[in-house]
Subunit: 295 residues, 4 copies
């Protein structure tokens, strides 16, 4: 397929590369143009502005947050103004339900299509084309861009005909991970103060009921109190909890555990944790219990 790709961060660069490797005709755009060179080496064209990446059947965007997506989507030379009628905007960024809904409406107004397609997976999964894609949108729009989704991920889950439902699922996933971090943080603070070796404890947990990767990964970081370097920085964790709370607020779904997580992230950041991995909130229970904290 002929597609644009906007946003060449760690995740986006890997996804765009996989599109090129899969044989799609990709035109990339990134605000800092130096990120585009490796893609050019794989055969991608390099656009000099947003509009330049909007000439194909589709354009994918993979950007940091609502503000970044707004800045490329709207305005005189933005995606909505530039994409041909009938083409599809595939938005893989983790954005708010409100913005996703607004994008759907804006594209529909001018005869374009919109698919929300956030992904689960870290940069290594993106590089290996092993992402899980969570798609929301009209079934035929999703079907149209399925070749692109297949090129970046190992499986696509179609959640709903409402695009924003996919964004909701994405942020709920990060909420669930943060809940695991908090629960492990409290449990480990408790048993460690009671004289248990937390590495033996973690071995027990992950050999039995909690054999999922998420317990192994984050449990290990908390047990080691090893919160640097950040695989996923604490401010990004807070951002996703905020998105979940904002969605809950709009739809009137109280989320007390998400509220607790939000306060944990604010505490961590207020005390200088900006550079730490988000699993550092798992060290706050130990700190409150009088042990050494994450900072």
């Amino acid at each position: 397929m002929r597609t644009g790709f906007i946003g060449l961060g760690q995740m986006g660069a890997a996804m765009a590369a996989n599109l090129a490797r899969a044989g799609h005709e990709v035109t990339v755009y990134n605000r800092s143009p130096d990120k585009a060179a490796p893609l050019a080496a794989l055969g991608a064209k390099v656009a000099s502005d947003v509009a330049g990446a909007c000439h194909g059947e589709a354009v994918m965007t993979m950007l940091a947050n609502d503000e970044a997506v707004e800045s490329v989507a709207f305005g005189r030379d933005g995606i909505v103004a530039s994409l041909p009628a009938g083409a599809v905007h595939v938005c893989s960024s983790t954005i708010s339900v409100a913005l996703s809904r607004r994008l759907a409406a804006a594209h529909a107004d001018v005869g374009q299509h919109y698919v929300a397609a956030p992904v689960f997976g870290r940069p290594d999964a993106a590089a290996a084309a092993k992402l899980f894609v969570v798609a929301g949108g009209a079934a035929d729009s999703v079907a149209r861009v399925q070749p692109l989704l297949d090129a970046v991920g190992q499986r696509t889950f179609l959640m709903s005909a409402q695009p924003e439902a996919a964004n909701l699922v994405k942020m709920s996933g990060n909420f669930l991970i943060a809940a695991v971090i908090e629960a492990l943080g409290e449990a480990m603070a408790l048993v460690e103060k009671g004289g248990v070796d937390v590495h033996v404890y973690l071995d027990l947990l992950t050999s039995t009921l909690f054999s999922a990767p998420v317990y192994r990964t984050y449990g290990g970081l908390i047990a080691d109190k090893r919160f640097e370097p950040a695989g996923f920085a604490a401010p990004l964790g807070l951002k996703d909890i905020r998105l979940a709370l904002a969605a809950g607020d709009e739809m009137r779904v109280p989320l007390p555990l998400a509220s607790l997580l939000r306060d944990r992230f604010l505490t961590l950041l207020a005390q200088g944790g900006d550079k730490l991995d988000w699993s550092a909130i798992g060290g706050l229970a130990a700190r409150d219990a009088g042990a050494a904290g994450p900072a």
Copy 2:
């Protein structure tokens, strides 16, 4: 080995049967004597009182709570008064840290040994001798009863020389499960109100990051709002969260997520949930959000 076994509930009966099948000389005792008949059929002797089960090298107890253990352990004809010097009391019940410490002291005072050995696993795992045993106590005491532990479980994790540390680990495990239930309850209330099919959602979660049995089992119950019959009744869930909070209180470890879970259980029970499975707290978020609740 020659051992007594006290407490023939669903779990205890299965464990005692496995001891008998493994060739140990078991003398069982249960307050309601009719529970002993199936064990007699497997070759176990049946004692008519607690003391009658205390003539071997060890006695295992598998009872519902602190009160039940206190009633067989202490007093004129209790375990402490009846067990030979040098014998081992293996206590597999989920009891408080405080009682476990008190038992350890009482047995030591009269030259007996005490091993806390709570187990992870539901009745079907007990029947299959596939329990995970969490042991606490002096290494040589644990070693002495290892043949018994091997007969009931698939693996023993030695957590600490302090017996009560094993109890702490046991209650922390149930806390971690309840945390999963709460997190899934909130996430599913959110996405369902946002138009997502929760069964597709659960398939996504358990196919990716949350591939542990605990997510599959409890996620399924919450998605189906199927909280009866109870596999593990809500009052037992509350009991274990209470034990964790009591341990945290004594050791000064604040546990905000455990506090939230306690309030969830109280809400469920105040509204008539005594007969429901403990996963029914996972339906409270949906009820708070205006959907039908667990009752």
Copy 3:
């Protein structure tokens, strides 16, 4: 003084009337023009648009929320575009810290002044010119509009040279009231289930340590479970808690009690409480305890 006044809701109409009665030359504007008639009867001029109320030394605004203030402040014929250089915008609405900061900057850019002056008090206090005014802004700007503030309130508290600090104080005040409601709600649910007459209980509280009006007023509503008609509707209560949480989020101040209050409001609204007084969150503890709830 010659001043405009924009926003003739229950509060604003009373305040504008007091300005007129105090002898100020007031020009009023309201989106629905019928609200202006009673003011005209008091001698006020009536403007037909926002700009028409911006010809004096000052303009006061008393509007429902951020959106309403934005809509009159910005844009081609808004306050910023219309007010003479050197004049003062006195904003008495309960708005966000972020918007207050943005207004301060916008007015400063064009040589105007901005004073945030939210008020404490219900409509009866507004009618009696007994409001408490919480002012933020440059001391000389506040001094300039002091005659206006004196005409609507019984006392002005100057909180900070930063206008938005006054908004922060205002929302914190409503947070403190909501905290009283929640605390009373829990305490009364507890003692009532324990067999205490809550009216006797409230008499005890307000005769002793809790002799403030806020305990009498809200305690009485909760004791009577009388949540209609709304003196201050639940959605407005949620709005102010949201503002406090947003300010806390921006400044990295975790507010766990505010988080709890937010979830209470969402629960109330999700279950149909839009028309109820905000004190109805004080009925949720009783409902969770199995008694009849606020709805």
Copy 4:
């Protein structure tokens, strides 16, 4: 009246002195006998054991906690064993609902009467006979000891014929105070980080809606971050919150704000706050926000 008085701490000594001054025939007992000397100087007799204070129409007890009350009430020479039939035990200690119920039953079994009569007020109010007495028990029993209650307090509130209801009210009062401390702590952390002078802020609050002594007293301590010396030490605050939570647990009343307070107290104590005033939990929000904390 002829009455005994057991427990001559700061509160009890003042109350016993007021009984003597009011002309009652008082026999005092205290574990450390040196505390009795000032009472003897006021004409009280001094007993050498608990039983020696149990020869009158009544005996009042004012002790630190459940354990202390149990130790004087039960056992061979305790109050229940020593008091004449028909006499009244007036228990002014802050004890659990469970113990109060147990005392009521034990006294009734042997034909004695039991009145729970905890008090509100600090030591200075006790010295001035200005306590507020919260009474629970059969109306005629309370009437019988009214002269004693009148001698120690300024007013008696009869809450219920169930004695333990008075204990419930007492602990709920301390819960309400702790809730004020937490709310003020969060509000002041927020406005202070936003540039507001907290003393001006407190003046505003206590001049307007929050004119109760509790806001002035605790607000002042938090504003000054002056948590030593302790007027009421943090471990005592935790004790009362624990009692409220235990009562809520038994009666199935979830109390999320009380849960939050419990976690605050545990955090304070885990970090070395045993000697601090309980208002020091009001400094934790500021500490979580990155400011200097209470330690």
